[in-house]
Symmetry: C2
Subunit: 555 residues, 2 copies
Amino acid sequence: MLSDIEIARAAQKRPIPEIGAKLGIPAEALIPYGRDKAKVDEAFIAGLSDRPMGKLILVTAINPTPAGEGKTTTTVGLGDALSRIGQRAAICIREASLGPNFGMKGGAAGGGYAQIVPMEDMNLHFTGDFHAITAAHNLLAAMIDNHIYWGNGLEIDERRVTWKRVMDMNDRALRDVVVGLGGVSNGFLRQTGFDITVASEVMACLCLSRDLEDLQERLGRMVVAYRRDRSPITCRDIGADGAMVVLLKEAMQPNLVQTLEHTPAFVHGGPFANIAHGCNSVMATTTALRLADYVVTEAGFGADLGAEKFFDIKCRKAGLKPAAAVIVATIRALKMNGGVTKDNLGPENVAAVTKGCANLGRHIANTKGFGVPVVVAINHFATDTAAEVEAVRAYVAGQGCEAIECRHWAEGGAGAEDLARKVVQMAEGGSAFAPLYPDDMSLWDKIDTIARRIYHAGDVIADKAVRDQLRQWEAAGHGNLPICMAKTQYSFSSDPALRGAPSGHTLPIREVRLSAGAGFVVVICGEIMTMPGLPRHPAAENIRLNAEGEIEGLF
Amino acid sequence: MLSDIEIARAAQKRPIPEIGAKLGIPAEALIPYGRDKAKVDEAFIAGLSDRPMGKLILVTAINPTPAGEGKTTTTVGLGDALSRIGQRAAICIREASLGPNFGMKGGAAGGGYAQIVPMEDMNLHFTGDFHAITAAHNLLAAMIDNHIYWGNGLEIDERRVTWKRVMDMNDRALRDVVVGLGGVSNGFLRQTGFDITVASEVMACLCLSRDLEDLQERLGRMVVAYRRDRSPITCRDIGADGAMVVLLKEAMQPNLVQTLEHTPAFVHGGPFANIAHGCNSVMATTTALRLADYVVTEAGFGADLGAEKFFDIKCRKAGLKPAAAVIVATIRALKMNGGVTKDNLGPENVAAVTKGCANLGRHIANTKGFGVPVVVAINHFATDTAAEVEAVRAYVAGQGCEAIECRHWAEGGAGAEDLARKVVQMAEGGSAFAPLYPDDMSLWDKIDTIARRIYHAGDVIADKAVRDQLRQWEAAGHGNLPICMAKTQYSFSSDPALRGAPSGHTLPIREVRLSAGAGFVVVICGEIMTMPGLPRHPAAENIRLNAEGEIEGLF
């Protein structure tokens, strides 16, 4: 059995112009980055705006467990399968963050025979988009401190600078820092911190912007600090929005690569799935939709977080109408949702699988609630038994839905053709997509709606300060924004240990944050880490070039 | 009269494979980055090792003044002129740092009709090399704090961690910081700081390495901290060297672009010219020398710092033998060296020019002292008068040397053909290059030799602690390293106001630092700033995309 990296290295990649040609992208509209990556020219994209859009397929999943679900793998497998059955298909996924690869072994490009290549590049610098975001973010930070240094004409309250710095690195020592030591020439002492780059609001803005003009508007609106009277200071007040757009000009153009089976794949943007919306860029998705008949994309975490934000933030704001959704589950992950520990996933356990199906059932009902047709993909694993698979099929049938076993990990697109045919059938049947709540609902009611309808919470609690803050934002004109929930991905509740389908739990809101540029209100339930740390033995200790110049230890 | 940026935008660039073909680089050895930049494949470069080397021409200058000398412009003009007179020529210069462009208007690619393009890219992300260096540097920093966090098995003295973090941004608030606040999970409180990326020892290592193996060796040797017993901890002890090389794999490959006249230009690496050696990479220079008959390159600051380090660090370590040197001067800059203020440079002032020639004369003698033939290039400016130019010619002739007026800024390579012919004549005559001091001289004597022979200092002073430190390093086996002087670039002395050719001054050594990976001892005379700040009105406030999508305000 070959490892993912061995399969990826053995891949016979086609020249990128040939991949672009499958979608009708002329070679001159592809800007090469290395030998097997390209950006799609913004002028070409601008010229597509009156084309009709293809069908958008969302791949989402049950609540993640350490057993793994294979959401990206299924996204890739489905894209390849759609190509195989004669559809003009494209895939859209997020870019990987560089830093975390040096902590734990990485690999965010699918697996087995359902991978996107070049895998190494995608897990390292790729086309430099994240570096550009880091630079743009930190330019704004430097300009804020510089403004204070040179007289603070805007009367920024130094204690209320909310804009931190970012780095694409797992570096816990930077979470909480004091800057400006060393005397007069270094500015004013101030406590602040660093987030990892994917947590930057610049990333969320880039991923939700239609074009560079929209990007500048969004960046300009970002709130970076407050005055003593609590009035906000924006990025535009600091005068950084123009220079930030210049830094992000190339990064805004979607990246085109390919699957092992040469299906075009747009890999672009990668916002955090907790404090942001966790999907690839609107630019990539809309570009793909104007070029392909079927576009397969994915959302972060399980459907309770990922699909809800995909529908309520990305689709709402970009005017996208998903045609169908695939919910990925594995027998192993369902067993864990049914109470089995990770060490006992091997033996057949139909009872546990059936019990765990409650989690799957909740996601099916929730997703259908958005008016989108749903199919379940059982991502095959070697230890699955026929009885276990049959138990899932029967359960899902009872929910008025179909579960299809997929073997794309081992067989590539050929292993997901049944799924592809079902997806086409559903998508041709039409979708009645609608977001969960209207724009003009109050912020608190939006939170309450998500908590009760999606999480099945019995109650939502928050300090008066949180409710007052929401009302202040409504008064300031931000009441029409959607909600971005930051909650554990492991449970419908805020308790990561509560697997399955808990009901009637209480959802505690700890904090709310305004992302005025990205265009959502972040609601934080529990501890959310925006700067990871490295483990005791970081993967970096074993990452190196071997004698053949190949990268070892990264995967 | 068109501005630099207007000229650059109007450039008719040739496809990069055509530029590579001029040097015999096959298209498949060029890795494209965007439409008009490429990296040269490391495997192709490795295959060149038994080729003979062309002739290396150094462009250096008198001490810089606010009037400007045009060293890069002359480097480009000379390269173009050599092409015009039928030589197979290539240019090697440094990459620009991104951060400073957001402070003052940038532009590090020559000027007028002697420019390298694409100018915008070169002043922004270019091919991502500096971002890779930032990431590699900061990975090591994160791994050091992570090592301490997880038990500090190496017994690092937290007060003696010398490895700081870097960012390619002018951000004075980061010069001096405390990290690790926020309790147990964020590690140990520690005072540290950020330098700008070009000041990273990783940058110096990359620029002095022969290949990736050499790079890993150098990175591994870097000293990052000390124990309580003062024994050093290296990057290799931390286990970061392998992963850093993986991050730097692409960055090690030289970047190929072109001049306005389509002469091949390698733009690669950009170490600080004070605490590092200030030249483009050895990889770029040796690659160019194996492909071209003439390679024109430049060194940072004036010849007292730049040329001395080029000869004593880069050429010594890489085994390069420069064939000739060009010292660039302008009438305006000579006037300033002769005591005229910046506001009074317009009117003819032969006396001041003649007086300022003392500075030029010292550089001529110093450069000849390395055994390298020298010519002076008078970089023409509109206000120069015939009498002023004649005064310089006469003075230089008196030094046994020739001064040639050049008009490449206005005329491109055609304006530097006389210079090119002289350079060819000198280079064909042979060079007797030798470094200033032997490897086995004591560190203190090396410093003393540079101070007396190059700066004409009367005395060198330092605290006992500095001399003890040098002796400790000698005992630890670092005594054979060359010296990297960090001194003001504005004067032969350590006093920036002392223009002309001062003698008998005292050179005070404030501090010495070991760059064990790069392979030199940094000797600091005066205040050296390794993290710039932004001015009151940063250029960033006016940088933006215009309605045509062009970048405004960057140049």
